[in-house]
């Protein structure tokens, strides 16, 4: 009589993990965040090299314990992998290219300084971002640095507000201004914003 497979069987869980890893190797697709599935696999492969799988204790299907850290609400295989990487301090974003995804936009455009406006842009990963703003004579009128992982330099969508206080309560002349998003001296993207009185 064949023994039926139970889903909480450790052997079953190991097999499922192995199948997921194989799929990751063969799947070349990158998601919208530029996260290469191959890069996740490479990190997981390193994870298996340095971690004895018996050290990873599982309480139930949605939680994971690694080295005294507990990861909850794990729904997808990617959640498990990211949790493992986080618990073992592996940087999954290392292979992701620093980029602004799409075009940075200013809203509203044109805008009035007294009412203010917002620059919105999406980053491929956590980055230190410098915001430069130039006037129509190519003079720099503003520069600020946004640390990695904080608003302005975090992975995903960032929004930065600009108003009269941004320019020390100085009323800029009506016209067009050019903003640049810079990381490590390289201009990632740029845009135009217009000011009216």
């Amino acid at each position: 009589m064949h023994k039926s497979i139970r889903f909480n069987d450790p052997l079953f869980k190991k097999a499922a993990l192995l199948i997921i890893c194989v799929l990751l190797i063969v799947c070349p697709v990158k998601d919208s965040y530029g996260l290469s599935i191959k890069s996740i696999y490479m990190n997981v492969r390193n994870l298996f090299k340095i971690t004895n799988i018996e050290n990873i204790a599982e309480k139930d299907s949605k939680e994971l314990y690694i080295n005294q850290f507990k990861f909850s609400n794990l729904e997808t295989p990617e959640d498990f992998i990211i949790a493992q990487a986080s618990g073992l301090n592996i940087d999954l974003d290392k292979d992701i290219e620093a980029a602004v995804l799409g075009m940075p936009l200013f809203y509203p455009n044109p805008f009035r300084q007294t009412e203010g406006g917002t620059i919105g842009y999406r980053l491929s990963k956590d980055l230190e971002i410098e915001l430069h703003i130039y006037d129509m004579f190519a003079n720099r009128i503003f520069k600020n640095i946004f640390p990695r992982g904080r608003m302005g330099g975090k992975k995903g969508y960032n929004k930065l507000k600009l108003n009269l206080e941004t320019f020390d309560s100085h009323y800029l002349s009506a016209g067009v201004y050019f903003y640049l998003l810079v990381n490590k001296g390289k201009v990632l993207e740029k845009g135009k914003m217009a000011i009216v009185p």
Partner: protein, 311 residues
């Protein structure tokens, strides 16, 4: 007479300012010709029609007729051009000038969703700013010349339109070696540029036309010309200095090499820059080139070209 003269200079440079609103974007602050830019943006000593934009009294240097054109593009985005004409008439010298700046493909944005608050583009618009100037110069004697000019300003930005006008006045005093140029621009300080919005009936915006006073001198030493200038900038009357040097070798007078240093104001901060350039004068046609370093992180260099004709 001397006391009155210097009192007026002091008054013009240090008169109180009004700066509760923004200043209008003054196109001529970029420079009106490559020749003027390469000597540190020192105004009032050109022999071509572009001096219309600088000091109307300097039109006295024109022979019979002069035309000049200037163009540059900054950051691959902003196109500047100007064109000037000058003609000597029995009643004096008249100058006409037109200057523009254009930026195209500016995105007009909307909010895609209230939940995520991300932005999208629904159309693109252009920015266009221009000024037109009419100047008149009358010579009181061989050494003293007076001039006045009227300027009309126009700006178009999406559905917004701004317009205004003002007046300039100037005096030039010179002999064989020394020339002094004094100009006051936008002397009617109560006049403003007024904005309307075709999509908003009740909208009204205004910008100052700040009074600018320029005091410049030129001194000839053999093949060299030395320039110096004090200029007040903006509604907060920041004083800025400029120095320039030109060399025209007597063995090859068709070429002039120049360098300059200028100070300028960016949001209440006084900054400085250097410029270099060369001019070529062939058969009454002048070709001028100027170079300036830029603080832009991507476009480090600014190049300016102008051409002029006089006869």
């Amino acid at each position: 007479m001397k006391k009155l003269f210097f009192s007026l200079i002091f008054l013009f440079l240090f008169s109180p300012s009004v700066w509760a609103i923004g200043d209008y974007f003054m196109l001529p602050d970029l420079g009106t010709s490559a020749r003027m830019i390469r000597i540190g943006n020192i105004e009032g000593f050109s022999k071509l029609a572009n001096v219309t934009f600088e000091n109307p009294s300097s039109l006295h240097r024109l022979n019979r007729f002069s035309a000049s054109a200037f163009m540059t593009t900054l950051m691959h985005e902003v196109e500047y051009k100007n064109l000037a004409l000058g003609i000597r008439l029995p009643i004096g010298v008249v100058g006409l000038g037109y200057m523009t700046a254009e930026v195209s493909e500016i995105p007009h944005t909307y909010m895609k969703s209230d939940l995520e608050e991300t932005f999208g583009v629904d159309e693109y618009f252009n920015y266009h700013s221009s000024l037109a100037k009419v100047a008149y110069c009358l010579s009181q004697s061989k050494n003293i010349h007076f001039g006045i000019s009227a300027t009309y300003f126009l700006t178009n930005l999406y559905t917004y339109t701004g317009s205004g006008y003002n007046f300039d006045a100037g005096v030039t005093i010179e002999n064989e070696k020394l020339a002094i140029s004094i100009a006051m621009k936008n002397i009617a300080s109560s006049l403003k540029v007024k904005y309307k919005n075709s999509e908003e009936e009740n909208y009204s915006g205004i910008e100052n036309l700040p009074l600018q006073t320029v005091f410049a001198i030129k001194y000839l030493i053999d093949d060299f010309a030395v320039y110096a200038q004090i200029k007040s900038f903006g509604s907060n009357r920041k004083l800025t200095n400029a120095l320039g040097l030109s060399y025209t070798p007597s063995i090859l007078p068709i070429i002039t090499i120049s360098g300059g240093y200028k100070e300028f104001v960016v949001i209440r901060e006084v900054r400085n820059n250097y410029s270099l350039g060369i001019g070529l004068n062939l058969f009454d046609i002048s070709f001028d080139y100027a170079y300036e370093r830029s603080e832009h992180i991507q476009f480090n260099h600014k190049h300016y070209f102008s051409v002029g004709l006089e006869f």
